[in-house]
Symmetry: C2
């Protein structure tokens, strides 16, 4: 990497500009120039140039002291979502699966160390988990994460398992590298992952991969349910079959359109 | 604006990097280096530096010849959405409005010349309009656009009305600057806008503003319905009242949390 924005191949101004956009969040919806500089690890002078550039381009607004993102930022994420075109292609299949299982279903892709939700059909029955498109969850503690990790090349999986900072979300969370690796291997062998209250008490989910033309997990599809409504064995005996059929339909449709 | 990435206040590398991300879409899910250069209006050498930087940062992947966006790009849009936190704050109110009216409802903000969807509660009854969060529609032909335009300062509204490239989407679309200005003024006076099949035949919608602490339209809330199910007068006599009540509740909740 070049250390200078004006020479070499790597554009540091672009890297830092993207980091500034990502510095805003639910906890920090607006930031001052010095907060941006501190959060991103850049000088105030650099933060100022980036914020003024983003403001001039309409991605950031300011009241003079505090800066906040504008809806134009959504155009960036939208570029990815619309190039996947999941809403149109997968939406009808997901609606059907959700109606059939009477549970929420979602599609996520891997952006280590997280999974990222790219499509979601919620049920009216639960409003506990407010996971919209773009939401991120730690891969190790989710069913979609486990099937996506199972699709990684061995060296990438090893690097992930050995470096990931796990957290004991509940008493059920697998946190040790060896347990995690076993769970991922099992997901790969069985073609699905069932995660039982490892992220949140009362929440179970089951996921299968959506395969690309080379048979690799390009995305994952899951059904999530309240533990009080769905036993582990019901998820396996009743939900897994329609879930698999749905993932095949979506995979076929996406492959036909060259999206995965 | 400086013409060089290494001097002055404006960071051209950042501007161009964001433009490259936006070059990908449903029609162009993957692009070659020369397609990127042509679409964005930059040299192939510049396109190469930007694409390699984005690839190194994990926002772009490549098979050697064609480039595509990765789910990491969603983290950018997510920074905006989570700083608004609409899902948590407005979601329950929108669910209630949708249940009450039995129609889809949405929140959008203005990013001229478009409106951008930032929250949406669809009904099960229609699947015709696949508008997810991040989707964009032309402001002039939508009910949410009209109430948001009514909140603009006079000079910005004039600049928009005189420069916008309108399209005759249906026989009902208002396309002339004077008609459009009248419709926007009426929306401002009456506090709502009703758009009848101007964007798509068979689709009606009614929108009201969500006001910030200074009484300006920070966002808009709408209910949209099939023309066959809802007459114009039913939207005014039955839907407008709960729509207004919902927008007030959401506005109050957002203002209390300092989001608008």
């Amino acid at each position: 990497m070049s250390g200078d924005a004006s020479t070499g191949t790597f554009l540091q101004g672009l890297e830092r500009g993207l980091a500034v956009i990502r510095a805003f969040s639910a906890d920090t919806p607006s930031l001052t120039l010095s907060e941006v500089a501190r959060d991103v690890g850049i000088t105030p002078a650099t933060a100022r140039r980036i914020l003024l550039t983003l403001e001039q381009l309409g991605y950031v607004r300011s009241d003079g002291r505090r800066f906040a993102l504008t809806p134009r930022v959504l155009a960036l994420g939208w570029a990815y979502l619309s190039s996947l075109d999941l809403g149109d292609i997968a939406g009808p299949f997901m609606e059907e699966l959700s109606a059939q299982t009477r549970e929420s279903c979602s599609i996520a892709t891997l952006d280590l160390p997280d999974i990222v939700y790219v499509a979601r059909v919620p049920t009216r029955r639960i409003m506990t988990v407010a996971l919209g498109v773009g939401a991120r969850l730690p891969a190790y503690a989710t069913s979609m994460g486990r099937v996506l990790l199972a699709g990684l090349p061995e060296n990438e999986l090893t690097a992930y398992v050995e470096s990931v900072e796990t957290e004991q979300h509940t008493e059920h969370t697998l946190t040790s590298p060896s347990e995690l690796r076993d769970a991922v291997r099992r997901a790969g062998e069985e073609g699905y992952a069932l995660v039982d209250q490892e992220l949140e008490l009362g929440l179970r989910s089951i996921a299968v991969p959506i395969l690309d033309s080379r048979g690799r997990a390009a995305a994952a599809l899951n059904v999530s349910a309240h533990a009080s409504r769905s036993t582990k064995s019901a998820l396996k005996t009743e939900t897994l079959k329609p879930l698999r059929a749905c993932a095949e339909q979506i995979g076929t449709a996406l492959r036909q359109r060259g999206r995965i």
